[in-house]
Symmetry: D2
Subunit: 350 residues, 4 copies
Amino acid sequence: MPNSVETIRIAILGASGYTGAELVRLLSRHPAARIAALTAERQAGRPLTEVFPHLGHLGLPDLVKIDQVDWSGIDFVFCALPHGTTQEIIAALPHALRVVDLSADFRLADPALYAEWYGHEHRAVELQTQAVYGLTELNRRAVRDARLVANPGCYPTATLLPLLPLLLDGLVEAEDIIVDAKSGVSGAGRDAKQQNLFTEVSEGMHAYGVGRHRHMPEMEQELSLAAGRPVTMAFTPHLIPMNRGEFITTYVRLAGARTADDLRAALAERYRNEPFIRVLPAGTVPHTRHVRGSNEVHVSVFRDRLPGRAIVLSVLDNLVKGASGQAVQNMNVMHGLIETMGLEQAPLFP
Amino acid sequence: MPNSVETIRIAILGASGYTGAELVRLLSRHPAARIAALTAERQAGRPLTEVFPHLGHLGLPDLVKIDQVDWSGIDFVFCALPHGTTQEIIAALPHALRVVDLSADFRLADPALYAEWYGHEHRAVELQTQAVYGLTELNRRAVRDARLVANPGCYPTATLLPLLPLLLDGLVEAEDIIVDAKSGVSGAGRDAKQQNLFTEVSEGMHAYGVGRHRHMPEMEQELSLAAGRPVTMAFTPHLIPMNRGEFITTYVRLAGARTADDLRAALAERYRNEPFIRVLPAGTVPHTRHVRGSNEVHVSVFRDRLPGRAIVLSVLDNLVKGASGQAVQNMNVMHGLIETMGLEQAPLFP
Amino acid sequence: MPNSVETIRIAILGASGYTGAELVRLLSRHPAARIAALTAERQAGRPLTEVFPHLGHLGLPDLVKIDQVDWSGIDFVFCALPHGTTQEIIAALPHALRVVDLSADFRLADPALYAEWYGHEHRAVELQTQAVYGLTELNRRAVRDARLVANPGCYPTATLLPLLPLLLDGLVEAEDIIVDAKSGVSGAGRDAKQQNLFTEVSEGMHAYGVGRHRHMPEMEQELSLAAGRPVTMAFTPHLIPMNRGEFITTYVRLAGARTADDLRAALAERYRNEPFIRVLPAGTVPHTRHVRGSNEVHVSVFRDRLPGRAIVLSVLDNLVKGASGQAVQNMNVMHGLIETMGLEQAPLFP
Amino acid sequence: MPNSVETIRIAILGASGYTGAELVRLLSRHPAARIAALTAERQAGRPLTEVFPHLGHLGLPDLVKIDQVDWSGIDFVFCALPHGTTQEIIAALPHALRVVDLSADFRLADPALYAEWYGHEHRAVELQTQAVYGLTELNRRAVRDARLVANPGCYPTATLLPLLPLLLDGLVEAEDIIVDAKSGVSGAGRDAKQQNLFTEVSEGMHAYGVGRHRHMPEMEQELSLAAGRPVTMAFTPHLIPMNRGEFITTYVRLAGARTADDLRAALAERYRNEPFIRVLPAGTVPHTRHVRGSNEVHVSVFRDRLPGRAIVLSVLDNLVKGASGQAVQNMNVMHGLIETMGLEQAPLFP
């Protein structure tokens, strides 16, 4: 099949994980994209349907190793590899290729900060400096021109979309931000780990990574940029017995005499024309299930019983807006396409 | 917005139930359809987003009562009302309107059989006679010309799609067909019933309607037509703690010296060009989760340890191919559209 | 069967709800108790096995209406009726009977506070004044001599058990206490409500009652008593797709130079001899599933990334230590029995 | 603590798996047993609470390797090791020790049959011949005198308890027995396998081992003994998204003019005095959730719509009556104890 002028030929590196599969799901219906290569080192040689039977009807190419990809037939790369394995691989790609990286490898701009949290020197420092943080709605201009976009983490996306504008507009204090986060299990990936067995996860919940989750420095980096000074936050993630969905409860201190209504109004105004962000009316609580499978973010603000405080609630699907959906959104921006292209489908409920 | 020539203006009667919501989800992305009216008697006057927040971004009309619909602006009706309430309503619709009815009211062709299973005389016998049974892949020609299509039940769709061709081709016996069926909870609807509470349904399973489920006469009607003589079957449905999905395990007796491989080959051949039906390779088991949210049916045939027998496995999403998806598929057929229109999205997994 | 001297003859009022059933489960194995009467107004006349088949093997009396109970054969009453319906009923009980009430009706000591949160005057003010708040480990002496024990709510039990001692000992500040709570669905009861259907609750989560949950004044009452001055708190409950379990994440400000380790050490010392409370070692996170079905509370304290703060985690089974288990524990204390009697069984995992 | 005369000193081999943990849960409350040794090769040296935090309060000995056990302090052995690893280990135990083995290693009496299904010669043929099949209710006398009891599989226990008496009494035919089985995930064990991840198992279901599950020969062996001639059956297991519970739907042919009512009456009579088996009244369907955590089996018989057939439904908790509970029950029989000892606790619902 000859390649039409408009079609972007896509390679997905790491197609045997959940974010890889989600990229396939979304891009298979994208009118301006064509999946041209799928890589998975350990599964190379197998048809996609054996690894993900739900994608078996799409007639896509078999899985190959990265070094088997013919880059001359590729226009754009999504990198959905595990954290820490991505740096050399992206550094070795032909320079003409534009890339959205879904790992954490290029999210921290400061090499020292990276080394502190990941325990080793960054292996592609130059690229790290060029990478653009792809929180689309708040960084659209930089994303458009980027060669390498570092797709934000799921928790940071859900947390920062409501929080950054409030901080930028001086509506909340940068001190004492407390983020209590809850996530479905798909965020933990597809590797066989005892702790993620159905029997270990269903019918119960627990916190994890208390005080030391790696999404923290990523969030603090962005909050500090917005506040114009170093910001430290509290962040506690919890694992919830559901496949998809992230629920963020953020406890903030109001600046001056601001109220929860002020915050809601400011967010509603800021995101008025954003197709993927819905600021809910007063008193309406977001549910993760109402964004399942979609690229939407729902946000709500409530008065806190503690004077001078407010509670911000936000939800998204960690595999879509929290990963692959935002990655496609970034590709759309990078290519000057309509931003919702390939991302229009309604949430799946129940 | 003026109505373009090609756009079918849709009314969905009963939009506050799950099949109604699923019609909205699918039709909101259908390039040749526009949702023009949504009815819900008890919720009339409310915006759709209050009843189904996941559909709130679609900008659809508010819910109204059926008698508030301006039928002059409607081309096609989907009726997603509860069983037993549909007959008079469809009888009263303007005759020019074509209808797909998702209830059980028009599935049985024989008024006496209807009366026996539903405990009252049919209230629209003439319509009942005209109604076409909308098992699309096997009744496409009749569906095309129908005014009123009776959309099959979820269990019958999942059971009959593999079974009818085998019976028609004389590969299995009509005697001793045993269907062990398992369904997710969304098939039970959205009414508040204690037995469907999370606490009553999760972390456990049970059978229900043993030996007396109302999908039985519907299946026996179609099996009898295929066999050319009355067929009785065993059917036991079970409720499984999941939202969507239906898994059918059918135990059949092989005709003559036929084998499981013969059955699989016959089904593969029969459904070779069907976009929604996948006959899996030998040894591959279908999973309900691999068709979630899609209009697909996956079928597999296994050798039974009992000589002269085989086991047929089939899965679908009860709200899509088992209800609203097949309804849209039927509309596509009735309007001469490409049959997959509005139904192309890939399954959502995990 | 003649009543032995030691056997306490029990009436359970409201035996058709989940806390009622849980009382039956626990008391049926209690060596010093015998269930003599079970009431359920709407289910009166039915055997228990029809309402709760899992209790069908116990050979217990049929359900009756409250006015059918022969109080001369009763020594002790558990009242598991809905909030707001309990006041007149307990007021009308023979005065010789001792009572543990599992509703919220007698938890607030201040009639004005009750009226503010429940929208009507308290209907048994005198009893309200006498009632003892039954947080057993912290109020054991008063419970022992009480005629009427107001069994604490599930959220207050899980929150206060770690928090009150820290406040009493001056280790944390009374200001700025933020409680982010997560609960399984059984806390919502057995009434048929659409919002608690499996399809509405599974595979997703949401907050509810943000800033206005009725467990707030109960917690603030106890915190204020401990602090010696009025305390206001933030409290956000969330509904998690699991049957049982409550997970409380409490964000506290440390007093002076206290550390998270100080808090853990203080709690470990305070609860050293308590059979139902386990303070976990540093770095160990509690899971709700590890206390499922048992009367245990697990507590853990973590350093917060925000300087001067700590994070306290606590879990319990909302139907056991959060309701019926603590009620039995209180009965044991009131009767001078070994406090663990009938409550020894190990958690059920997985 | 000196060992009292009556106390049985227990070793549990393989205490880091789910059946091992379940043995600990049950035996920790058994008045005549004391857990004296717990083995787990890979976890040796660790306290039990690190492997199973829900058992952390019991004060049990740390995990050791099998060759570290001092057998002189042991009276009874439960062997909960993986299939295939058990034969040499039991053969090497001191001969005075009595053993209940929960693996499949000694369930097949015929060495040739074992070799056929397991792909290697049995490594302890002499023991295999002596082993008694521990389906307690139907083999109590042999169990009492056995040195080595082969504890039945979960599916065989649930299937055979209703089926064997019907076959023995000539009420059903031995031909054409079709068993459609559904199980929770805990039956798959605690090993880290991708296919058992929460994300791969929840919100969906599938069949597995169709036509070749290893519980088949075990069931056919017992059915053949009962029928007095070789019996072949159909058996299809399915994996259900729940932790515990097994639901068996058995389709049988009635002998002569027998009816479903005859079957129910016969089972009710046969099991009249059995404390763990409840034959439900006509029209009542068993639920797995109503036996959760208990040693109960619930059985029900329904008329089939197919003439001359009936449907038998049975449920149990696969970790209790399907494994560890029946193992304890067998120990009770072997020691002449009351058979329900340590097994009295009521099911946990919801």
